[in-house]
């Protein structure tokens, strides 16, 4: 393992400088070779497997013919955050899973890497924004939350000729692109660069440090705008429900990652020697791998069920193991020990009995000085009064409308598909199209 970040003794170093790309970008030669591997399928299954329906055979063909900016436009016309998706999508369960080469038992096309190649090319070339706005409709839409859903909505709405004002609780745009995705997926401040690019369409203003709450209510927003879109993600986290959860050294994995992504000085991150990450999803894997990359001695990922039930993909679990993370399955957290700060945790072995998870009564302890909780996020917010919540998420219609007329929603805060960046982008796009149609009659 590399050096311990707390012990490097060198000048301040940020995540953008410290982390390398998880997947090495393709160079020109490899991009053309990889593009050549694509069969240019008809009615390609990969398109259907992409939540944003990017015309994959077309953009890869454009890479092959050397029409790199055309390739980027093909991608961005369906997915304005194609750059982040190319870095963060679990392609192994999306587009690449559906690639016909699978059927033939061959290596599938590296769609994500090709997508990144095209977008990076366009962004490096600079120049004017690739899309233009329709004639001004005179309509003004409010967006709550500048995450992938909100930004994707705003971009599409702006393209359709509407004026958009975004109200964002934090002081930076991007949502989890900026605060949550693993640092090794978003090197070189990509999230910020992508937002700047996206805003190049024009017609979008962002107001920071403005949360939807008791002072900025849905009523206020509706009064000042023709429609409202909510893309606030999942602001809350689930707790373990154990005594000792409030001890020092017990924290949400999301906050740990946010600290890594935001600090200008990684050596200031509270990094223990013995870390436990609790959970089996994306967030757990990302927290564990980043901790390991930063130099933590022992990182244990404890999950109460088996590998098959994990939210994380097989690729991600492998990634954790390759980085030296100890993965302990069938382990349910039972207790947190320590005085002022956590010193160890107790787990109980579990089994599936008739489809139900049950403890075996057998327990074991793991010493730790940092315990990271990654057991799920939940919808939270003061300003949601009056909105129907179903199963923990905002209820929306086929046309993305919430229970309040003229208020639409998308992204993690609704139940549309998986909680993924690419899904949030699709939700935003579809909602903008729906709102555009709705505005014609309202």
């Amino acid at each position: 393992m590399a050096h311990h970040i707390n012990k490097t003794g060198c000048a301040k170093i940020s995540a953008a400088q410290f982390f390398d790309d998880l997947h090495r970008p393709l160079d020109g030669l490899m991009a053309v070779k990889e593009a050549d591997h694509c069969l240019y399928c008809y009615d390609a299954p990969c398109i259907q497997a992409c939540p944003t329906s990017i015309d994959i055979p077309t953009f890869i063909h454009q890479i092959r013919t050397g029409n790199m900016s055309g390739a980027a436009r093909t991608i961005l016309s369906e997915n304005i955050m194609g750059g982040t998706c190319a870095r963060a999508c679990p392609t192994e369960v999306l587009c690449e899973q559906a690639c016909v080469h699978h059927e033939g038992g061959n290596k599938t096309v590296e769609i994500g890497l090709l997508q990144r190649h095209a977008i990076d090319h366009l962004m490096a070339a600079g120049g004017s924004h690739p899309f233009s706005r329709a004639a001004d409709t005179g309509r003004h839409i409010a967006v709550v939350g500048a995450g992938p859903a909100g930004l994707s909505f705003a971009h599409r709405a702006a393209m359709l000729g509407h004026k958009v004002s975004i109200y964002e609780a934090k002081s930076k745009p991007g949502g989890l692109n900026e605060y949550g995705l693993a640092a090794y997926k978003m090197v070189n401040d990509f999230a910020a660069r992508e937002v700047e690019f996206l805003l190049g369409i024009g017609g979008i203003e962002i107001y920071y440090d403005k949360a939807l709450d008791s002072s900025l209510t849905l009523d206020n927003l509706q009064a000042q705008h023709d429609a409202v879109f909510i893309g606030i993600g999942l602001g809350g986290t689930n707790g373990l429900g154990l005594d000792g959860e409030d001890l020092g050294g017990v924290m949400d994995a999301i906050d740990f990652i946010e600290d890594i992504r935001q600090t200008g000085d990684l050596s200031a991150i509270r990094l223990g020697e013995d870390i436990i990450v609790i959970g089996g999803g994306n967030t757990a894997i990302d927290a564990a791998v980043q901790a390991k990359k930063l130099g933590a001695q022992n990182v244990t990922l404890a999950y109460r069920r088996g590998e098959e039930q994990m939210g994380a993909t097989a690729f991600e679990v492998d990634l954790a193991r390759q980085n030296g993370v100890m993965v302990r399955l069938w382990s349910k957290p039972m207790a947190v020990q320590g005085n002022a700060a956590v010193t160890s945790m107790t787990f109980e072995h579990t089994v599936l009995k008739g489809g139900k998870l049950t403890g075996t009564g057998e327990t074991y302890d793991i010493a730790c000085d940092l315990a990271l909780k990654a057991i799920g996020q939940k919808l939270e917010g003061d300003g949601l009064d009056g909105l129907t919540i179903n199963d923990g998420k905002l209820k929306v219609s086929e046309t993305c409308e919430t229970s309040i007329k003229g208020v639409f929603a998308g992204g993690d805060c609704v139940r549309s598909g998986e909680d993924l960046t690419v899904q949030a982008v699709e939700d935003g796009k579809q909602a903008a199209i729906a709102v555009d149609a709705w505005l014609k009659n309202n």
Binding site: C41, Y42, H101
Partner: protein, 424 residues
């Protein structure tokens, strides 16, 4: 292990692979490296009268496949740009050092009997096994009334061949240009002039590509470009056709053929031999990959011959000639249909869209409940054009299966629907 020895124009060669007259055969160093690599012979880079020509800088252009593979190649080089004496002394030396290898001297001169004869005599004196007349260079030299300027006029082909035949008593190869309307006219002229063998093809006239920034054809010489000679893999079909025509035409059949044009592998070589070639010449493939490619040409050809039970080149030489016929001799009653191996199919849909958009709407496409895509040939609509089998990315996934219909062999002239009866 098959015996790869062959004979052309009475010259014995340890294998059929020679390097064609071009930069790879330009001087002592190259030719020795070629012989060390296993090439059986070379046709020396074309020699002219002194003073030697002067070449421009920026000489080649490429026609690329998607993977940057070079499918075609072109050049605007002229003939040897080194003094005649230097070339001849090197030929003499290599002839001494490599007695079992063949050297043919390629030449061209002004349209002047004296000039052709004197040059031929000088070259023959260096000890070459034979002389090849370059009547094909389609750029530069033709503007000086040489190369294709001669090769495009059958009377001049015949006359030049005769001049050299009269001057020397070693075998004469007449090398033809493909930049003509009917190769048989050129071949007949060479034969009438007394050629011992015909070499073909020289390069095809071409503009390989246009540089869209410079707005000039490649290769660019100080902002301008010129047409050049096209060669490499892409010209093989043109060369195969011309070789086949000469091999099967009653007027020219039996003449020795040194086949050239896009030979990159043992398979290409075997195809030319099956159409009657006695020996082969290679230029571009060597320029693209180096002399080492001859290893697999030799090894692959001999494995192929072993697998088919051919002991010598002559065992299969010309076997495809009798099956190369005019369209009017084809069987109109033959019926073949595409068959898709569903196990091998990876569901890419390429066959469907190709047939649907541009052929006969004969491949049905269905998507089952779980997303499984099935492509099936509709026999009634399939005309047996081969399009799907050609574009299917999976080898042997689409097979063309002849239909047993028990109908007699029926040609178009015999066909009841032929409005002209059996005349055409």
């Amino acid at each position: 292990m098959a015996d790869l020895r062959c004979t052309i124009a009475g010259i014995d060669s340890i294998n059929p692979f020679w390097l064609a007259s071009a930069p790879p055969t330009d001087k002592y160093a190259n030719v020795v490296r070629a012989f060390e690599a296993g090439w059986a012979g070379v046709v020396w880079k074309t020699l002219g009268e002194d003073p030697p020509v002067i070449n421009v800088s920026s000489r080649y252009g490429g026609h690329f496949g998607s993977n940057r593979s070079v499918i075609g190649f072109n050049n605007i080089e002229l003939i040897s740009d080194r003094p005649l004496e230097v070339n001849l002394r090197e030929i003499e030396q290599i002839r001494r050092e490599w007695p079992d290898r063949v050297i043919i001297g390629s030449m061209m001169a002004r349209v002047d009997e004296q000039a052709w004869k004197e040059l031929a005599i000088k070259i023959a004196a260096s000890g070459v096994h034979g002389i090849e007349l370059n009547l094909g260079c389609p750029h530069g030299m033709c503007e000086r009334d040489m190369g294709s300027a001669i090769g495009q006029v059958p009377e001049m082909i015949e006359q030049t061949t005769r001049w050299v035949r009269e001057a020397v008593d070693i075998p004469v190869f007449t090398k033809l240009t493909p930049n003509i309307t009917d190769i048989l006219w050129s071949a007949q002229a060479a034969k009438a002039g007394g050629a011992h063998a015909i070499s073909l093809i020289n390069t095809v006239n071409s503009v390989i590509s246009v540089d869209l920034d410079a707005m000039a054809p490649n290769p660019i010489v100080d902002g301008k470009g010129s047409h050049g000679g096209y060669c490499g893999s892409a010209v093989k079909p043109i060369a195969l056709h011309m070789v086949a025509e000469i091999a099967r035409s009653p007027e020219t059949q039996g003449v020795d053929i040194s086949a050239i044009g896009g030979i990159e592998s043992w398979r290409d070589a075997a195809e030319f031999i099956s159409l009657g070639a006695n020996a082969l010449q290679v230029c571009t493939a060597a320029m693209l990959y180096g002399f080492r490619i001859v290893d697999d040409m030799i090894d692959g050809l001999s494995s192929f011959m072993d697998s088919k039970g051919y002991r010598t080149i002559d065992d299969f030489r010309g076997l495809a000639i009798k099956n190369t016929v005019n369209w009017n001799e084809l069987n109109m009653n033959f019926d073949t249909k595409a068959f898709i191996d569903q196990e091998a199919c990876i569901e890419c849909g390429r066959c469907h869209i190709a047939c649907e958009d541009t052929a006969h709407q004969a491949i049905a496409f269905e998507v089952a409940e779980g997303g499984k895509r099935t492509f099936t040939v509709v026999d009634e609509d399939c005309v047996g054009c081969n399009l799907c089998a050609i574009i299917c990315p999976v080898p042997d996934c689409i097979e063309m299966r002849p239909v047993k219909n028990d109908l007699p062999y029926l040609t178009w002239p015999e066909h009841p629907k032929n409005p002209l009866g059996d005349t055409k």
